[in-house]
């Protein structure tokens, strides 16, 4: 199994230069190609759909202004993801913290077992495990397992080395497996 994401988009075919020059149709094509990767990563980072939406909207505003700083199309997706993650973390810090009481309706359908990846880990346990991680670590997990970024792309997005990114993700994976496996 592999993570299916917009990696199917060949970044080299995207009209990066035109978008950076202010071509709104070209920019729309980039938005379409990467918006969902950014949104879904941000949902994991901040645990809130609306904050994720805000973060990505803010990231696109930044991208519109600064797209010209990205010369290599292969760096575009990591850059966009990193901008949206930074915005999500910024918004997250400014939001009110409230208590949550979760009510779980017992249901066979909600408590699947087995190795079917579509059934997987109980949502409550996964949420709690993610919430115990630092937002930067949640971002690493999301970049790898939600957006499907490879080590080189994660390195570009986080400022780590590729080997450093792999090592950190490996440790995070071990921790999550101990808690959830």
């Amino acid at each position: 199994m592999a993570v299916m994401t917009s990696t199917a988009v060949d970044a080299r075919t995207l009209p990066l230069a035109a978008a950076a020059a202010g071509d709104e149709v070209a920019f729309a094509q980039i938005v379409t190609s990467y918006h969902e990767d950014m949104r879904r990563v941000c949902v994991v980072v901040c645990g809130d759909e609306s904050i994720a939406e805000e973060a990505v909207a803010s990231a696109w505003t930044i991208a519109w202004r600064k797209l010209g700083s990205v010369r290599d199309p292969l760096r575009l997706r990591p850059w966009l993801v990193s901008v949206s993650v930074n915005e999500a973390r910024q918004i997250l810090r400014s939001r009110r913290r409230r208590a949550v009481v979760e009510v779980d309706i017992e249901s066979r359908a909600a408590r699947p077992t087995g190795d079917d990846p579509a059934s997987g880990i109980p949502a409550m346990d996964l949420r709690n495990a993610l919430a115990r991680l630092d937002p930067a670590d949640r971002a690493l997990i999301a970049m790898r397992y939600v957006a499907g970024l490879d080590s080189d792309e994660i390195a570009l997005a986080t400022g780590r080395s590729p080997s450093g990114a792999r090592a950190r993700i490996s440790r995070l994976l071990d921790r999550l497996e101990r808690e959830l496996g």
């Binding site: 199994m1 949550v100 779980d104 115990r132």
Partner: protein, 453 residues
């Protein structure tokens, strides 16, 4: 594409997919609205063109049928109850219809940063400072329900902690704040359906928080920055707090669309609409203000400010007079301090301190307003959100439930049981069957509990 994954990685990928929901086509119009909201409410030139382009070319990501099935199963599987100060309610696909009346003033200005006195229902008998004991019984809880493994909220409701007196508050709510005595509830909701303008409403214990009274005051939409050097910029308002006498609301005003930005503490007189900026900061980095709280005598306001953007947890508490001036910092050593709560006798401020080690850890502390007598009250690393009860004890959230303890940190015990709320038959819920209480640790959503009667 990624390399082949281990068994646990496959489970993790599937579970994360279910949590965040499947990829979906980009909604250009929603993107334009969200962008305009976040970027100082000023429409972004590019979003209109992008939205138009998306609509005409029907760009969109591929969706996976298997994920749709997972989400459909999840919707009958899990219910999360909480409240979030969020905006996504406005864009949810099928919002429930509000069931309570909204009482509008006779002459509400359509986009008025400073409403006239006639626009404010100050003489409304339902807002005439009813004592919280008039509500009596169990505390009210403002909550938001989110269905399924995804995090999309469905509605905001209010009920007592045993599930009685339940009703929908409204659609389009972005935040709520209780008055210190629990007699009033400030509701921030969008005006109309455009998602562009937020307005303040008040609900009262006198009618069980059924009616929303329009204050006529719009929040940050299109407000000009109060500082001379930023007069052409727009601001957003947040972190609303009702004064003890119910006559004023303090809030944060953020002007951060373009850095250097500024953050201000301001108050509005609900009778006149007069806004007074008490103190402002200006800087090249984001240094937000949060947790705006009044002193019990209404003469001072305590708030938390991020003092360094280099870390995610470097916050400090400040006090400023409610009339402006006398700004000073509460010294708590190297602790990061947020969520200040002033004791009813004014002698102590409880607060939460957050640290990041292997993960987030929070504990409750107390200090006098002059910075002396610092005490650590909890040591479990999961406690936060201190609030004072009327009998001088401290209520807090331990990550799973609400607890209450003596002001020196002893005799901690459950504050109240949400078991009944968890099992009450919510008429608006799409779920059914037996439920159990759990917890999540995300900081941005949850429930707002009325200060204890």
């Amino acid at each position: 594409m990624m390399d082949e994954l281990s068994t646990f990685e496959r489970r993790l990928v599937g579970s994360l997919d279910a949590l965040v929901g499947p990829p979906r086509p980009v909604d250009g119009a929603a993107l334009a609205r969200a962008s305009a909201r976040y970027a100082g409410r000023r429409p972004q030139r590019w979003t209109a063109s992008v939205a138009s382009t998306l609509a005409t070319t029907r760009h969109g990501l591929r969706t996976r049928p298997v994920l749709a099935l997972v989400v459909a199963v999840a919707i009958v599987g899990t219910v999360v109850v909480g409240v979030a100060g969020v905006a996504s309610l406005v864009t949810r696909p099928n919002p429930p219809a509000p069931v309570q009346p909204i009482v509008s003033p006779s002459a509400v200005p359509s986009r008025s940063p400073t409403p006239s006195a006639s626009a404010v229902p100050s003489a409304s008998p339902t807002l005439a400072s009813p004592p919280v004991s008039a509500a009596g019984g169990l505390p009210y809880v403002v909550y938001e329900e989110t269905l399924g493994q995804t995090l999309e909220p469905t509605y905001v409701g209010i009920a007592r902690s045993d599930g009685s007196d339940v009703h929908l508050l409204s659609e389009g709510i972005t935040d709520v704040a209780w008055s210190p005595d629990g007699s009033r509830l400030l509701v921030v909701r969008f005006l109309g359906t455009t998602g562009q303008v937020e307005r303040l409403y008040l609900a009262s214990a006198a009618d069980g928080f059924v009616s929303l009274h329009d204050t006529g005051f719009d929040t940050g939409a299109d407000h000009a920055c109060p500082l001379p050097h930023r007069a052409n910029d727009v601001c957003q308002d947040d972190w609303f707090s009702i004064s003890p006498d119910g006559r004023h609301v303090a809030f944060e005003r953020a002007c951060t669309d373009v850095l250097p930005g500024c953050y201000s503490i301001a108050t509005i007189d609900l009778a006149t609409g007069r806004v007074q900026v008490l103190t402002s900061t200006r800087g090249d980095v984001h240094q937000p203000i949060q947790d705006v709280t009044w002193s019990p005598d209404g003469r001072q306001i305590v708030f938390a400010r991020e003092v360094s953007a280099a870390t995610s947890s470097d916050w400090t508490m400040f006090i400023v007079d409610a009339t402006g001036g006398n700004l000073h910092r509460i010294a708590v050593g190297k602790l990061s301090a947020t969520e200040p709560a002033w004791s009813p006798d004014g002698a102590t401020i409880a607060f939460a301190s957050e640290t990041w080690g292997g993960g987030r850890e929070t504990d409750v502390y107390a200090v006098s307003p002059d910075g002396t007598g610092l005490q650590r009250l909890t040591t479990d690393g999961v406690s936060s959100q201190p609030e004072w009860t009327h009998d001088g004890r401290i209520r807090f959230y331990d990550g799973h439930r609400f607890m209450v303890m003596d002001p020196n940190g002893t005799h901690a015990e459950p504050a109240f049981d949400f078991g009944l709320l968890a099992t009450f038959r919510d008429p608006f819920s799409k779920g059914s069957g037996p439920r159990r209480i759990g917890s999540t640790g995300w900081p941005s959503s949850g429930m707002a509990v009325q200060p204890q009667p």
